[in-house]
C-alpha cells in the first residue's frame, strides 16, 4: 500500500513509453533512465532489508540453545 504511488508513476512511465514507441518513434530512453533507476530503488531496498531480517532470524535460531 505504501508503495502504490511509486507503482502508479511506474505505470505512467510505461504508458508514456508505449505512446512514444507507437506514435512518435524512436523512444528517447536516455532522459527517462534516471527516473527508471530511482523507481526500482524502494523495491530493491525492501528486498535487501527482508533478506537481512531473514538472515538475522536464522542466525538467532541457530545460536539459541
Amino acid at each position: 500500500m505504501r508503495w502504490l504511488p511509486v507503482a502508479l508513476l511506474a505505470t505512467m512511465l510505461g504508458i508514456a513509453l508505449v505512446i512514444e514507441a507507437v506514435a512518435y518513434p524512436p523512444v528517447q530512453w536516455l532522459p527517462k533512465l534516471p527516473l527508471a533507476v530511482l523507481l526500482t530503488l524502494p523495491f530493491v531496498l525492501a528486498a535487501t532489508r527482508a533478506r537481512r531480517h531473514a538472515a538475522g532470524r536464522r542466525d538467532r535460531a541457530e545460536t539459541e540453545p
Binding site: P5, M12, P31, P34, P42
Partner: protein, 206 residues
C-alpha cells in the same frame, strides 16, 4: 489524433491523482488531507500565474481547465510531489507525516532525496509533454535531450521548500492560524517560484 491523446492523458492523470489523494487520506488521515489540499492549491496558483502572465511556457488547448490553466498542470504538482515524498520516505526510512503525527518533520536527508527524485522526473515529463504538444517552452529555451535546463532548477526548488515549509507550519500552528499561514505560504511560494524562475531564466539566458 492529438486531441484524443490529450484527453486520454488528462483523464489518466486525473484518475491517478484521485488514487494518490485516496492513498494520502487512508494512510495519513487529516495530515494527508492537509498535504493534498495544500499541494492542489500550490499547483493551481502557480500554473495560473504561468498562464496569466505568459511566463516560462504556453499550454496546448486542453479539454479540462481549472481557472486559466489546464487541470492537468494544476494537479500534476501535487501528484508528483506526493510520489516524491513516498519515494523519499521509503528510501530514507523516515516519515514526513502520518503514522506518528508528532513527526511532521523533513530531515535534510529526506529533502535531498526528494530533490533528486524531482530532478529525475524532469527527464520523463518535459520531453514527453513537448513531444505530444501539451506544453511548449518559450522560444530559445536551452535544453539537452529535450530537457530544458531551467526545469532542472524549477522542479526541486518548488518541491523541497514546499515540503520543508509545510512540515514547519503543520508542527507550529493549529486551527485557523494554520489555515492562514498555509494560505500565505502556498500563494507566496507559488507566485514567487513562477516569477523567480522566469527571472532566473532571463538572467542566465537559459
Amino acid at each position: 489524433m492529438s486531441s484524443g491523446l490529450h484527453l486520454f492523458l488528462e483523464l489518466t492523470t486525473l484518475l491517478f491523482f484521485l488514487v494518490v489523494v485516496a492513498h494520502a487520506l487512508v494512510l495519513r488521515g487529516r495530515d494527508g488531507a492537509w498535504l493534498m489540499g495544500s499541494m492542489l492549491a500550490l499547483g493551481f496558483v502557480r500554473e495560473n500565474c504561468v498562464a496569466l502572465y505568459h511566463w516560462l511556457y504556453r499550454f496546448a488547448d486542453l479539454h479540462l481547465h481549472l481557472g486559466a490553466a489546464p487541470l492537468i498542470t494544476a494537479i500534476i504538482w501535487g501528484y508528483s510531489i506526493y510520489i516524491a515524498i513516498c519515494w523519499a520516505e521509503s528510501v530514507c526510512g523516515e516519515a514526513v507525516c502520518g503514522d506518528s503525527l508528532e513527526t511532521r518533520r523533513a530531515s535534510p536527508r529526506l529533502l535531498a532525496a526528494l530533490g533528486v527524485f524531482m530532478i529525475a522526473l524532469v527527464g520523463f515529463y518535459e520531453p514527453f509533454l513537448e513531444l505530444v504538444d501539451m506544453a511548449k517552452w518559450q522560444d530559445g529555451t536551452r535544453r539537452t535531450l529535450g530537457v530544458p535546463w531551467i526545469a532542472l532548477v524549477g522542479y526541486p526548488t518548488l518541491s523541497v521548500p514546499f515540503v520543508a515549509g509545510w512540515c514547519h507550519i503543520m508542527r507550529r500552528h493549529r486551527g485557523r492560524a494554520r489555515l492562514a499561514w498555509m494560505t500565505v505560504f502556498v500563494v507566496t511560494l507559488a507566485f514567487g517560484h513562477a516569477w523567480g524562475l522566469q527571472w532566473l531564466k532571463g538572467v542566465l539566458g537559459w
